[in-house]
Every structure is written in C-alpha cells, then in structure tokens.
C-alpha cells in the first residue's frame, strides 16, 4: 500500500505555475527524497500533502484518504528554516504540541520524555527555543514531528542553514528516525543527504518529477572515475595514455572515461608498478549528482536509466587497492577458466 500518492497534481500562484503535473508514490515505510534547487516547488509540494494548500488539479491521497483532516495526527511535519515558537522552553513546547495532537496524561509525559531523550535534548529541555543554536532547534523540530508517533513524516529541507557539523548531526538523527519504520517524504537540495537517507529519489524540475530512481540503483559501476596521485612523471603518463584512449591525464589527475573494471585495474596496476602514490579514487561526479544533472538537462527518462560511476571511496589507500586488484585478477582468472571449460 502507498502511504502517499500524488496523481497529476497542478498548483499555481496567481497564474504562475509552481507544479505542473506531479505524480509520485511513496510506499509504506519507504523514504522518498524530493530533490530540486531552491524555488523548484518542494515546499509547495509538502504543503499540498500536509493539507495547507489545495491542488488546482489532480489528487493527493495520504494514508488512503484524500481528506488530510481525517489523517491529522498520523502525519508529522518538519518545516523549513526552523519556524517554531521561540518563547517556550523545549519541554513546554513539546507538551503543548503534544496536547494539540490529542495526547494527554501519562502518555503525553512519556512521549515528551522519550523524544527529548531520542534527540539528545535532555541538556537543553528547560532552555527557551529562542536561545538554542540552530542545530538544536532543528532537533526540536524532529522531536515535535515524531511526538504523536505518526505514520507519515513530511520533512522540508532538514539541514538547510546548518553548518557541516550540524548537518551531519541531523542526518545521523534522520537515519535513526528512518529506523522507526514510518514513511518519510523529504525535500532537500543536498544530494549526499538524499543518498544517505532515501530509498527512492525524485528530481523536481520544471514543476514536474523529471526523473525518479531507487538510490541503490544509482550505485553501480560505470561511467567515469578520477584518480588523483601525488605525482605523475611523463613516462608514467605516456604509459597510461597508451593503455586506452579512455585514459586522460591532467597534471596529477587521471580520468577514466568511460571506465570499465578492467581498465581501472590496468591503470591501478601500472601506477603501483611505477611506485606512484594514489591519493584518491572517486567517481568523476557523485552518482546522484550525475543523475540529477542528467534529469535537469532532460537526458534521463523517468526510470532512472542513467549510468552512474562506480562508488569509489575517497582517499583509498594502497593496501585496499592491492586487495581490489587481487580480487579483479582472481575474477578474471575464474572467467578464463570458465570459458576454457
């Protein structure tokens, strides 16, 4: 069953279209990321699902109902840019919001205590929201959204405006939220965030979902990688270029485009044989970034058919590279044996 279902949703403001036929489905328990630049219509989309706005055309079903009022309390909402009442302490605020959600008595106290604990707010529970750093306020935002144990959570730009450390903290908390099993629809323009948290992503561009893909499907070897080395002597460079026209050298960077596992293995072997220290081996672009750019350029179909580069971890050391080479050798050897049989 789909927890969120949008069919051909149109929305415009004073005749200016914001969404032009958005259709998407989020299965129960899945995490769906809506990616798009500022102004793409992500907040409009979330406000439509939350029932603040009404579509000009099309239908929206949340937990099987087209009337969001019927599912109030089963949907949590985290707004963009930490918009909360700042004159309350964290505890007071959660108590009030819990009451508005229909909680009371021992259950309310238990839920507030549980969320304060879950989001690391114990130390600041009696501080005013207005006096908290932005990262803490966003934790309060997550805590309030989950207070009534909703089945669906709508999260709008959870890490916008946070410093890198704050972003990391919130992403870690969102990973924990994900484990609770609720359905999450998250709007973001941070690709790493979507990559880490989402099962499926949709690129919102031009008022439509320009492309959709399962995030795991984007993590497959192909396309191109960049190998950064400490130094690249002319002799090594010549040898590398001789390997294949797909190898391009530029000072301390070697680009394999298109890349193949065999070519990658050859290049790495050559570098190691020449005693060249490898600094990093990484996809030329982040797989989601590549998917995103292709979607925005209209090069990708709706099924996420883009080929993404391999997930080469940055800063890969020589030992790990040797292991990978040995595995590749082993695989090649096994293939040859299979063919000879």
């Amino acid at each position: 069953m789909d927890s969120i279902e949008l069919n051909d949703v149109h929305k415009s403001y004073d005749g200016v279209p914001a969404l032009r036929g958005v259709s998407l489905r989020v299965p129960q328990g899945a995490v769906y990321g809506v990616l798009g630049p500022y102004g793409a219509g992500k907040t409009t989309l979330i406000h439509l699902i939350a029932g603040f706005l009404r579509p000009d055309r099309g239908s929206i079903r949340v937990l099987g109902s087209e009337q969001i009022q019927q599912v109030d309390g089963r949907v949590g909402y985290v707004p963009e840019r930490a918009r909360y009442h700042t004159r309350y302490t964290v505890r007071e605020y959660l108590f009030y919001l819990g009451r508005f959600s229909g909680l009371s008595g021992a259950r309310l106290r238990r839920r507030v205590a549980a969320e304060i604990d879950a989001f690391g707010l114990t130390g600041v529970a009696d501080h005013l929201l207005g006096a908290l750093p932005r990262g803490m306020v966003q934790r309060v935002g997550l805590a309030q959204a989950l207070l009534s144990e909703p089945e669906v959570v709508l999260i709008d730009e959870p890490t916008a405006g946070l410093d890198p450390e704050g972003q990391r903290d919130i992403v870690d908390l969102l990973v924990a939220v994900r484990r609770r099993g609720c359905t999450i629809l998250m709007a973001t323009h941070f690709l790493d965030e979507a990559d880490l948290l989402c099962d499926r992503i949709g690129i919102l561009h031009g008022g439509r979902i320009a492309a959709e893909a399962e995030t795991h499907s984007l993590h497959r070897p192909s396309s191109s990688v960049v190998i950064t080395v400490t130094d690249l002597p002319p002799a090594t460079e010549t040898a590398l270029i001789a390997l294949s026209p797909a190898v391009q050298c530029n000072r301390r960077e070697i680009t394999l485009a298109p890349n193949t596992p065999e070519l990658q293995a050859q290049v790495l072997r050559l570098l190691l044989d020449h005693g060249i220290a490898i600094v990093t081996l990484a996809p030329r672009r982040h797989p989601i970034e590549e998917f995103y750019l292709e979607a925005v350029r209209g090069e990708t179909g709706r099924n996420g058919s883009s080929e993404a580069p391999p997930p080469g971890p940055s800063g890969m050391g020589d030992t790990l590279l040797r292991e990978l080479l040995q595995q590749e050798d082993q695989r090649t050897h096994e293939d040859q044996e299979r063919k000879s049989l």
């Binding site: 406000h47 939350a50 603040f52 706005l53 009404r54 009022q69 109030d72 309390g73 949907v75 949590g76 909402y77 707004p79 918009r83 909360y84 009442h85 004159r87 309350y88 009030y96 919001l97 009451r99 508005f100 959600s101 229909g102 935002g141 309030q144 009534s148 709508l154």
Partner: protein, 253 residues
C-alpha cells in the same frame, strides 16, 4: 469534547506567548492611564451611566489593539507546526479569539476592581453592575469576532475590503444624510436609504447593547438584546471558521 479541550489549550498557549512577548505592557499602561484619567476620585462622584458609557468606549478601543495584536500572532509561519497536528483549523481560530477575549475582559475586570477599591460608584450595586457589564462584555466579544473575521488568514484582501466598504456604507448616514440625501435623485436616495437600513440592521445589537449597558434598562424587547448580541457573535465566528476552513493557508510572516 476533545476539540473544545484543544481549543482551550491553544488559547492558553497563545495567551502565554502574548504575555511572554511583553505586549501586555500596553494593556497594563492603558488600564492605568484610563483609571487615572477617567475613573479616579474627582470632586464630583462618578455615576453608573458615566462609568458604563466611558468604560464601554475605552474597552472597544483597547480590544481593537489586543485583537489585532493577538490575531497577528496566529498569522505567522510558526503556525504551520501547530496546524499540522490534530488541533484543526476551527480550534486554531477560536483559540486565538478566546485569547483576545481573555485579555480584553481581564482588563475590564481590572478597571472595575480598581474602581471598586478606590472610588466606588454611588448607587451601583452588584446586580446593577452585572446588568451593565453583560451587554458591555458581549459588545467586546462582538468586536473581537468581527476582527477575527477580518484577519488576513480568514478573508482574502478583496473580501476584507468589501466587508469594510459595507460597514462604511451602513455608517454613511452622518456623511450622506439630510440635505445631501434629499439633493440626490429620488431613486438613488431611496436605494441608498434601503441599503443603509439593510446593512445597519446586523449592527443593531451592538448599538442597543451599548445603550442598555449604560441604562441597564431591560424592559420589553431590550431583554432580548444580549441574546441578539450573542447570536451575532456566534454568526460572525461561524462565518470566520467556515472561511478559514475553506482557505489555503499561506501565513503572512
């Protein structure tokens, strides 16, 4: 029942925020100023008529301030978090309304208490005070309900302008009357007169309520006036809640 409880909790929440914001200082200062200027012991003793007519007008002015300030608290982006819950739009709006009433009625109570302690009104017993106070408080409730209806989150700007235009037309008797009215072509004068009569009818309870508050004379049909005030309050609030429920929520700030 649950909706009523949530409405009350939201009113408490709003009141609490209003108090913490410090805006209540204006009401406190206004109460002190009103007492000092109009109700402290003068050489002449204060009559009940003087008290109810003066307090009735002062409180209307103060309710406009309180109402617009508290209702503006409900028109901020922080409201999304509140409305995303089970609270509901009706309780949200009624909670704001109740908070306005609580402040407005409390200020009136404070003025009455100050007067009772320092400058008791001659010839006004408790019953007389209650009889004058009921229509006065209902008038404040009526004004607060009207302000609620005119909030940007309830009515879009063109509708608000239209409502205000109708009110202006209903009150236009002072500007377009007598010689001016008779100088207009007969059909226009008749049409204007009829329109004014129709438009000013809903305001009758407010005006007669004020008059009864001052006179405390409930003889004959006057006894029905507080009831008419109450029904008008309910009607305005129902209209506001209906409109708010139908509107898209785009908060101003």
């Amino acid at each position: 029942m649950n909706a009523l409880v949530r409405t009350c909790w939201f009113a408490v929440f709003t009141l609490s925020e209003y108090l913490r914001s410090g805006r209540i200082v204006v009401e406190v200062l206004a109460t002190a100023a009103a007492y000092y200027l109009f109700f402290r012991r003068w050489t002449m003793p204060m009559t009940p008529e003087y008290f109810f007519s003066t307090a009735g007008l002062l409180m209307l002015g103060l309710t406009v301030y309180t109402g617009s300030t508290i209702l503006a608290l409900g028109d901020r982006a922080v409201g999304y978090v509140t409305l995303a819950r089970r609270l509901g739009r009706g309780p949200y709006l009624l909670g704001l309304y109740l908070a306005v009433l609580a402040v407005s009625w409390s200020v009136y109570g404070a003025i009455c208490l100050l007067i009772a302690l320092t400058n008791p009104i001659g010839g006004l017993g408790f019953v007389g005070w209650v009889l004058g106070t009921i229509p006065l408080l209902l008038n404040l409730a009526l004004l607060a309900a009207f302000l609620t209806l005119l909030t940007p989150i309830v009515l879009p700007a063109p509708w608000r302008l239209a409502v205000l235009a109708l009110v202006a037309l209903a009150f236009s008797g002072n500007l377009i009357g007598g010689a001016t009215l008779s100088s207009l072509p007969a059909p226009v004068a008749v049409a204007l007169d009829v329109t004014r009569t129709i438009l000013s009818t809903p305001m009758l309870p407010a005006f007669t309520g004020y008059a009864i508050s001052v006179s405390r004379d409930y003889n004959g049909a006057s006894a029905a006036v507080p009831l008419a005030q109450l029904f008008l309050v309910i009607g305005l609030l129902a209209l506001a809640v209906y409109s708010f429920a139908k509107r898209e929520i785009v908060f101003s700030a």
